[in-house]
């Protein structure tokens, strides 16, 4: 073995700041790219990354991880899991790859931006690994998605989503560009590595891994939990940055950065991971409810981390906790109605047994969402196909890009929020999204949601087909009910005309 321990030389490898002479510090580290907080290079030199690893360890550990993930996949390739799994689970895989693969790639660039413009050498070095990690996540997930691409055109969205004007692609870009590439290195270290990677990625990558293991989808379970081991390391970039910022009197600004990023991430993750865990995963393979995962990873783990670093809980925390009871349910209902605009097939997920589970996990579910699904099931049973699709568009938020949901059965629980700025009204799903816009209106002004584009006549023809094509969705890739509406047959007591009505409905849809 080599004679020196890492600790004997590690500090030398991060003692790489010098005083430039042929260009100024401001030219090499412009504030807009480096540090909106305005700390000096010397102040940043107190930065001490807690999760230390050397290049030598990195390539050894990472090649082990890859050998493991790819060999599990190879060993299971002949099991044809994709052909046998429940349709709802296949939909989760399609949703996951389409939403995640290229988002990872923006993080490649983001980490590299910290590797270039971070004023602390320790941040630059850890972000160098972070950039490599995110390339791993892009590539390994694309590779796994591609394995089954000959079986479904929808898997093409693994590479396609973010290149389209699909509403989900727009929403994903808006969040990623706001918290990653649209920020300086210091702010990004908080927004990307602390808020996103220490908080929310756990929901999708460990929550779904737990369900996948119960499903017997060991290839996917192993893949995404392996991805999360990289996140656990490089997410620590932000912890060390927060310590420097707070020590230098920047708590209020850091607090605001955490609050912006946390809320933006919550808005995307509830819509992605929530329906996957509470509706699309086959009932017998569900490990915990989405709310339980949120409480395990966000409330118990992340909230405590916020406090430990000397920050406060975000100002909207009580509201956030309340939304863990309903965002995913109204979001799922809306996604199901908008299924033609998706690259996956949402499962209803509301058979009597599933409703019993939902009622147990979310007391009052039947009285709230169950009654709405009754209406839908009745329409399926009676072949009222036109009622199974929306005849207009949902209002979309100009910050998060998502529809605006509340609790049904409580009068007008759902509320709109808006700001009139410049020539127009900007619309928001919630007080936190409005707050984000109002902090820096010129940063977001001019943004057009799909709804804004329809109103402005940007989408031609403004028909349903025209809009779907504008969003990049062509026949053969548009989503439909994952189970061919079978759930609706079991959702209501048997009726005399049930079989005939349903056969028509199924054939027509």
């Amino acid at each position: 073995m080599a004679t020196l321990n890492r600790a004997d030389w590690y500090d030398i490898a991060r003692d790489t700041n010098w005083t430039p002479r042929y260009a100024s510090v401001e030219e090499i580290f412009p504030d807009e790219m480096s540090d909106a907080f305005g700390l000096t290079v010397e102040q940043w030199e107190a930065y001490d990354e807690p999760f230390k690893i050397s290049y030598r360890e990195y390539v050894a550990v990472q090649s082990k991880k890859d050998a493991d993930a790819y060999s599990v996949k190879a060993a299971l390739a002949r099991a044809n899991f994709f052909d046998k799994a429940a349709p709802g689970w296949i939909s989760i895989l399609k949703m996951h790859y389409g939403a995640i693969c290229l988002a990872e790639y923006i993080a490649v660039l983001g980490e590299a931006k910290m590797a270039r413009f971070g004023k602390a050498p320790g941040m630059r070095n850890m972000a160098t690994f972070g950039s490599l990690d995110e390339m791993r996540h892009t590539q390994i997930q694309l590779y796994f998605a591609h394995e089954n691409i000959h079986k479904s055109r929808q898997l093409d969205w693994g590479l396609k989503t973010y290149h389209t004007q699909n509403w989900a692609g727009i929403a994903g870009r808006a969040m990623l560009d706001d918290v990653i590439l649209g920020r300086d290195a210091a702010t990004m270290s908080i927004m990307l590595t602390f808020a996103l990677e220490q908080g929310f990625t756990n929901l999708q990558f460990l929550g779904l891994a737990a369900d996948a293991a119960k499903m017997g989808d060991y290839s996917f379970s192993n893949l995404i939990s392996s991805v999360q081991t990289d996140e656990a390391r490089h997410a620590q970039i932000g912890t060390a940055a927060l310590k420097v910022l707070i020590a230098n009197g920047k708590k209020a600004q850091a607090q605001q950065a955490v609050e912006i990023a946390f809320w933006r991430n919550w808005r995307l993750f509830f819509s992605l991971t929530g329906p996957a865990i509470d509706y699309l995963t086959p009932l017998e393979h569900r490990h915990q409810s989405f709310k339980e995962f949120v409480h395990e990873f966000i409330v118990a783990q992340f909230e405590r981390a916020i406090e430990d670093l000397g920050l406060d809980r975000p100002w909207y925390w009580d509201f956030f906790l309340d939304t863990t009871n309903y965002y995913q349910h109204s979001g799922h209902l809306e996604l199901w109605f908008l299924r033609q605009t998706l690259w996956w097939n949402p499962a209803g997920g509301v058979t009597p047994a599933e409703r019993a589970w939902l009622e147990e996990k979310y007391p009052g579910w039947n009285q709230r969402w169950g009654r709405l699904w009754d209406v839908i099931a009745d329409n399926v049973q009676h072949g009222r196909q036109d009622k199974l699709f929306p005849a207009t568009v949902p209002m979309l938020c100009n910050i998060c890009g998502l529809s605006i949901g509340g609790i049904p059965g409580q009068g007008h629980h759902v509320k709109g929020h808006w700001t009139d700025y410049g020539e127009r009204r900007y619309y928001f799903c919630s007080a936190p999204c409005k707050w984000i816009f109002d902090i820096e209106q010129q940063r977001y002004a001019g943004h057009k949601s799909i709804v804004d584009r329809l109103l402005a006549g940007d989408i031609q023809p403004g028909t349903i087909d025209g809009t779907l094509e504008y969003m990049g969705l062509f026949p053969g890739e548009r989503g439909d009910d994952a189970d061919d509406y079978a759930w609706a047959r079991s959702a209501l007591p048997p009726m005399n005309d049930r079989s005939a009505g349903h056969a028509d409905a199924a054939a027509g849809l």
Binding site: Y105, K113, S131
Partner: protein, 342 residues
Amino acid sequence: MDNAPTGSDARTGATLGPLKTWSYLAAQKRRPSEYEIVSVHTLYNNDNAQVPLELAAGVPMNRWYRRYRNESRLRHADWNAFRDPDARVYRSYVAAQDKEEIYVDGLLDQYNALGHDARLAPAWAETLARLYTPLRYLLHAAQMCAAYSVTMAPSSTLANCAVFEMADQFRWVSRVAYRTAELAKAWPGLGFRTGERRRWEEDPAWQPYRMLMEKLLATYDWGESVVALNVVALPAVDAGLRLLADSALEQGDPLTGFLLEAQLKDSARRNRWVRAFMQFAQDQDGSRDAVAEWLAKWQPLGEAAAAAYGEDLPGGAGRAATAIQAMRGLQDTLAAARAAAP
């Protein structure tokens, strides 16, 4: 905005069926490699040239991308068509570099067992303190420049090459740091570990390299940055390292010589994609003119740097001219546009 082919039959109303690969790659009519499946078209922020990020057009980063990437004089009709000749992907990179690092560990163990450092000539040990261990600053500057190429690259296939380059530079920052600690133990009092920054900032042998790297760090035009770094600056650094390796072998320091050779192996891989990239990137006259201008501006800085450093090495004065000649040859090869079709 979406320049991916979504299927030529899309607008006829026909139902799209599954393909054998991504629709983006299906057009190329041959089975894509693993490299292509996981590397091509994974960057989306170059789809919309006017508003690269999904934020107001005027936010600083949208202006930055427009000004420094999209309006760079280095242009190509389809940056996504670039391919790394080594077809390197993440998993092959970490696997290959793990093997290389095992080799380096072996070198260190072997020479440690021989009491290598203690047996160096004192004068050579001083030379290492002056001209080897301050190298980590130079390599870290290169790591930062490569990181900039990653953030600004107009396609993923190019950004990926830059990611590996950034990681390679960090690899050698780490190994130089490791050697610094070892040499500090064997040769206390020569300023190993404590003196590198001062030497990097003040020793005349380093100043032209430092000027080169600091000016590069302040160069934000993406095309100029990638060309000056890879065609001029890093080959100039390598020329110095080659001279250092020659001196080391002559001066009874095989370990430094072999470490530098291992380091230059990474450079050889970089030179392969740089050469392919420069051929690819100069398909347009405008790009060729820009490259010629940039080379004229940066090459004198590179040559001055390699010369100042090389001539200061023991025995370097006699070799530096030849080494710089070789460096020019390499730079010309790297910079060459594809030969025009007859």
